[in-house]
Amino acid sequence: MTTAELTPNSFRNQPDERGHFGQFGGRYVAETLMPLVLDLEREYRAAQADPAFQAQFDDLLEHYVGRPSPLYYAERLTEECRKDAPAGKGAQIWFKRDELNHTGAHKINNCIGQILLAMRMGKTRIIAETGAGQHGVATATVCARFGLPCFIYMGAKDISRQQPNVFRMRLLGAEVIPVTSGAGTLKDAMNEGLRDWVANVHDTFYIIGTAAGPHPYPELVRDFQSVIGKEARAQMLSRINRLPDLLVAAIGGGSNAIGLFHPFLDDADVEMLGIEAAGHGLDKEHAASLAGGRPGILHGNKTYLLQDEDGQIDEAHSISAGLDYPGIGPEHSWLKEIGRVRYDSVTDKEALDAFQLLCRTEGIIPALEPAHAIAAVAREAVKMDRDQIILANLCGRGDKDIFTVAEALGTVI
């Protein structure tokens, strides 16, 4: 048994048969896409019931991605945080090391699952959107691995701030298509992805990168990413024979967070904290949909969105391209509303400080996305007892971000 038992009152039996997580989620897509979305759901149910599908997924995760990823006790970071803590305070900080995956982030877990589904459905062309480029790289990687043509939509602004990942995608044989509409970031890339999909429904599979979009995407992305939480739960029990007191993960769309949280949702003693990007501050430009938005409909689902009173979508801002999105996966909106998960935010500056803190204390260069989680971990650790345990998801490595960080620190490289 790797997770607690599923009960009728479980937090883990969402969505309902219409793809709703409470009032959130759903299938808000153009009619042209509806038959395809229904096909995908049918095919996903068949895949879930097919041991061969699960076996192939597990095999690729083990031998291609390099799972299980390690569970790591960050001893020096723990000690560093204890320096600022009141007596007896300063929780132990542990990391789930998903930055050690092939391609450097958790995104590959989901891409493996979705490309296997695409091939089951007989689709021969793959499209995806990307923000930071991690999902684009992961998609380009699985397309190269399985020999399928790959087209990645990426905002022009993100292309300029994530050049190393753009080059990686091209090396892997993908075509990177710049999106100049809107602010040229993830939201606009997703619009273009949907436009491509609606025009190529007969042969194209859209590998959505986060636990959002029309049902069944939020569910299947969560399921593929849940390998993070399932492993972490088993590793915790086997290493120290107890569960963590607090889980922490950064949230853009929320796929790494839901992947970590979901297998623990029915463990009543495990608290969870999702960290949104507060950008320049919650009273300025930011990307914290739960903190600063309200429910609305965008990109196929109902969820918290940054928007004005007429329902026009606001531009998000975060130093992290992967968090720079005005929405959030619908299951997080639901988990916020029912109060099972606590959500908070971290600014660009706090994330930059945490980025450097982890580099110096642990010899790990994190991506800017998990740097947000690390900032929150440092904030929480000093409030918790020394025998308590925080487990954070280190969902990506920072090689791609060194140019952005250098610029923010005023260093020319």
Binding site: G26, E31, T32, M34, L194, I297, G311, Q312
Partner: protein
């Protein structure tokens, strides 16, 4: 007889024309569409993220929103149009979020007050009908659903259940204003729809020229033209009324001669 139904019982197939609200001099442009002979007016509600639209209508949305167009402005345009043109059916077309942000009931009431006859919502499929459908139906506003090349015989009853006014056949799987579908595929699709419903069938997406409009008018009850008109607004800015009227008149003449 309600305005929308009567538009499809005339001697000739109906010309349905689309422009984006708040782009250019919308009040003058609406008058021009009527003067040119449009039978049904579709008024686009601008949205920041028009996922189903091609570049022409995307840019119209951006122009409109950049000028600060609000939902209140759109209903004011509709109210003024209704006062001036009591018999011309008016349909709002747009995306779910601006339509549902204050609740479906609020939106339906605004439509009724402004004399809007029907609503086309791109991203509320039948599966999410509770978002908008019940409110519109109880307010007596037609919910016009889209049928597409991906709508097979099994899917059509789901689409048609709760639809009224007319059925909008999206002739290409794709976004607005791009390629036109082959005439044969349009004829097949309209024939399939005619078996499934008594509602009038209007065909749109990629219909730009009088010749294309005439070809569709030979088989369908209505022809929808959008991007070509929106491009005229882009080209002529606040002085688009004259060119719009003339172009609509040329479309209308072609449609009227189609079944001669």
């Amino acid at each position: 007889m309600p305005r929308l139904s009567s538009a499809f019982t005339k001697a000739h197939p109906a010309l349905v024309t689309f422009i984006t609200a708040g782009d250019g001099d919308t009040a003058a442009n609406l008058d021009a569409l009527v003067a040119g002979g449009a039978d049904v007016i579709e008024l686009g509600m601008p949205f920041t993220d028009p996922m189903a639209d091609g570049p022409a209508i995307q840019e119209a949305n951006i122009r409109s929103l950049a000028k600060g167009t609000t939902t209140a402005d759109i209903f004011a345009l509709a109210t003024a149009f209704r006062a001036k043109h009591p018999d011309v059916p008016l349909v709002l077309m747009g995306y779910a979020n601006p339509m549902t942000i204050r609740g479906g009931d609020w939106f339906a009431a605004q439509c009724t007050n402004a004399g809007v006859d029907g609503v086309i919502c791109v991203d509320v499929p039948p599966e999410e009908d509770p978002e908008l459908g019940p409110a519109l139906r109880s307010a007596g506003v037609d919910l016009i659903r889209l049928a597409t090349p991906t709508s097979d015989a099994a899917r059509l009853p789901t689409i048609l259940d709760g639809s009224s006014g007319f059925v909008y056949y999206v002739s290409v799987a794709g976004i607005t204003g791009k390629q036109q579908a082959a005439q044969a595929s349009i004829e097949d699709a309209v024939a399939r729809l005619k078996i499934a419903t008594n509602l009038p069938i209007a065909v749109g997406f990629g219909v730009r020229t009088p010749e294309q409009a005439a070809a569709i008018a030979r088989v369908a009850d209505g022809v929808v033209v959008g991007s070509a008109l929106v491009e005229l607004v882009a080209q002529h800015g606040d002085n688009a009324a004259g060119p719009l009227r003339d172009y609509v008149a040329s479309l209308k003449a072609a449609i009227n001669s189609a079944r001669a």
